[in-house]
């Protein structure tokens, strides 16, 4: 077999890498629940396997999600990943064609230009020489951009790059050296043996004009092999573990395995799949408004991975979901954040025994205002007016004061306490026999939908009002006011409800678009998910968001969440109204003409 000692660093490194990765994968898969394991087994023999392979191609190689954030950033990641992938694949095809049935070591395609000097007899030789050179050039552009990004990230639309620790830096620098060294080695080899193409051949000749190519080319191959070896060995302990782990994650997700509330093996896999690309840092308002660059997922997940989670990192997060929305790996970031909060939370049982067993009112529909809505009574008032006008038989469940829905406790990791509140509310709701549960608070909506398991339909008040309008139970006056609608975090990214509130408003107003809407909406800063922010910090966030939303001077700023309304009211020169208020105002007096 063809061999030279310089291939040892590469080969040994590769072997070590494969062993460590398989060991880790084995451990994670073993720790999956039996249900998850059976999903994995079934999935491998289903058509979801092809879906998974396709997703690996689109995301791990082409990095489509990153292109969506910024095209230059996407190109950079793609050229490195896809380019390297193609170099390996095409290189293997090239050597296979060349060698026929002869067995070669795994290093042979990597160092082909060192070993093989006589290539003219190889079929398609010119094509392969060209394509390998082209791919090398392709990857080199990525390397250049990657180095440039460290120095001037704004070019890629990122305000800052991830701050790296020593381990990551070691891996990063060895990665950066790999392709330039390959380029140098192949060029110098080409100068001596004429094996190069348009890129390596030309460079080789240029270098030979002032360097003793035949004496030094061997050392460059050593250096190339060492760079590869060092990268492979450091990979499993650095952020580049994401390369194999992301693939595993994509397969598991396509087979139906997903995050659960607890921090389990799947979460461990997610944590290791984080490439620390830094997109989450850029999208996080704690960074852009408050200059806090310590708590974003890129850093938080690192703390989780190395089991050094600080309480501050776990709790100082709005849970707004912007990072999750743009994460190219699709990690369930909020889930992991809350899971870790449980470790710091002081949780009790039997502390809500004071909650009364109350009289229940029988009705078709329950209206639950939520704790916060009591401090924005215009919303309560508007809802009762609307429900009365539409002649809905409803029970205003928390008219005299709410038993909290339990979500604020859950967001702080206090699940046992939340369970007691859930039980109290659930009992009342089920005893009332209502078929529909309507709430005007998106925070409540999320928990009533996801945790309560009520068995009846749960709707946000904007969805219900739209339904009433569609059923002709509500007629509204037309108006030509321009409205900017703000998507609350919990309703938009949290529950996927973007269109219905807009559809409702568009029926009788002029809704205008805004840069920060739908999935790109900003958080008002009032989030109950963060217990660390001071009110001055929340004011800064709210003011910046209001300025963005009212940048085109609309007549009204519409919200669908009482916390958002409270956050914006005192900072906005434009009037802030909840959707319910806008609808209530548009209800014509009985003498007026109806239109919609």
């Amino acid at each position: 077999m063809i061999f030279d000692p310089f291939v040892l660093p590469f080969t040994i490194g590769l072997l070590i890498l494969i062993c460590i990765v398989f060991y880790k994968f084995g451990g994670w898969i073993k720790k999956l629940s039996s249900e998850e394991k059976s999903k994995l087994k079934k999935g491998l023999f289903s058509k979801n396997l092809f879906k998974a392979i396709r997703e690996v191609f689109y995301e791990s190689l082409l990095h489509r999600k990153i292109f969506r954030v910024n095209p230059k950033l996407g190109y950079m990641h793609m050229s490195l990943a896809f380019g390297w992938f193609l170099l390996i694949v095409v290189g293997n095809i090239e050597t296979r064609i060349h060698s026929g049935t002869k067995m070669n070591g795994p290093f042979y395609p990597i160092f082909f230009k060192f070993f093989e000097h006589h290539r003219e007899a190889v079929p398609f030789n010119d094509f392969f020489v060209f394509i390998m050179d082209f791919l090398l050039l392709f990857v080199m552009t990525g390397v250049v951009l990657a180095i440039f990004k460290r120095v001037y990230s704004k070019f890629f639309g990122l305000k800052s790059t991830t701050k790296l620790k020593v381990g990551d830096k070691f891996a990063l620098y060895s990665l950066w050296f790999i392709f330039p060294l390959r380029f140098m080695a192949e060029s110098l080899s080409s100068a001596v043996f004429h094996t190069g193409g348009f890129f390596t051949g030309t460079t080789g000749n240029l270098l030979a004009s002032f360097l003793p190519a035949s004496e030094i080319y061997y050392y460059l191959w050593w250096a190339y092999s060492l760079a590869l070896g060092m990268f492979f060995v450091s990979l499993p302990f650095s952020r580049y573990m994401h390369i194999p782990t992301e693939v595993l994650l994509i397969f598991l997700r396509n087979f139906g395995v997903n995050a659960s509330k607890q921090f389990n093996s799947f979460s461990e896999i997610e944590v290791n799949a984080c490439p620390r690309c830094g997109i989450c840092i850029d999208k996080c308002q704690l960074n852009t408004s408050l200059d806090n660059k310590k708590v974003q997922p890129a850093y938080f997940l690192r703390e989780v991975r190395f089991k050094q989670v600080k309480e501050e990192t776990a709790t100082d997060c709005l849970l707004c979901g912007r990072c999750e929305e743009y994460c190219p790996v699709g990690i369930n970031l909020n889930n992991i954040r809350v899971a870790k909060r449980r470790e710091f939370a002081v949780d009790y049982t039997d502390n809500y025994n004071y909650l009364p067993v109350e009289d229940v009112v029988k009705a078709d529909v329950i209206y639950f205002a939520g704790c916060m809505t009591h401090l924005t009574p215009t919303i309560k008032h508007a809802m009762t007016k609307i429900l009365d006008k539409a002649k809905v038989s409803y029970w205003f469940m928390d008219e005299d004061g709410s038993v909290c829905c339990g979500r604020p406790l859950m967001m702080s990791g206090k699940d046992k306490m939340a369970a007691a509140l859930v039980e109290n509310n659930k009992r009342k709701i089920q005893a009332s026999g209502a078929k529909l549960f309507v709430t005007s608070c998106p925070i409540c909506l999320k928990v009533f939908n996801e945790e309560y398991d009520l068995g009846i339909k749960v709707m946000h008040h904007s969805q219900y009002m739209l339904q009433l309008v569609k059923e002709n139970r509500l007629k509204l006056k037309l108006s030509d006011k321009t409205i900017v609608y703000h998507d609350p975090c919990e309703l938009g990214r949290g529950a996927g409800i973007y269109e219905e509130p807009r559809a409702l408003l568009k029926r009788f107003n002029n809704v205008v678009p805004n840069e920060f809407e739908k999935e790109n909406a900003l958080c008002c800063g009032g989030s109950l998910g963060n217990t660390k922010l001071s009110h001055e910090q929340r004011n800064i966030i709210a003011t910046e968001v209001v300025n963005q939303l009212t940048i085109d001077n609309p007549d009204l700023l519409a919200t669908a969440c009482p916390l958002c309304k409270k956050s914006f009211t005192y900072k906005s020169t434009v009037k802030v109204m909840d959707i319910a208020e806008i609808v209530a105002e548009a209800i014509p007096a009985s003498s007026e003409m109806n239109v919609t």
């Binding site: 401090l375 909290c404 916390l563």
Partner: protein
């Protein structure tokens, strides 16, 4: 001359002797705690206070004075709903005060502080 015990219970707040560790812990971890003026907006709006004798204002005051015996059981009644934060005119980060009081109590019981 003090004999070290008294037959009748001291009905006053004995400020010098009271345990102010919880207050110190909270002051360190949530500085906005210092700006409370006991106006009562928080307890007036409290969700739990609708159903039981829970007063966040009172708890803050007792913690400050070191009268912490009642605090341990009372503090568990909070639902963390956040209305108090919205009502507070001084901008005290009320929910974090509750969380820090809880943590301080745990740490004192574990002899960590």
């Amino acid at each position: 001359m003090k004999f070290g015990y008294s037959i009748t219970k001291d009905r006053q707040i004995d400020f010098d002797r009271n345990d102010k560790r919880i207050a110190d812990y909270v002051r360190e971890h949530e500085p906005s705690f210092k700006t409370c003026i006991s106006c009562g907006s928080c307890s007036a709006t409290c969700s739990a206070a609708n159903f039981t004798d829970f007063s966040f204002r009172k708890i803050q005051l007792l913690v400050r004075r070191g009268e912490t015996n009642e605090v341990k059981e009372e503090i568990k009644k909070c639902m963390l709903c956040g209305k108090c934060y919205l009502a507070c005119p001084r901008g005290v980060n009320t929910r974090n005060v509750i969380i820090q009081i809880n943590q301080a109590i745990e740490k004192i019981e574990r002899h960590d502080i």
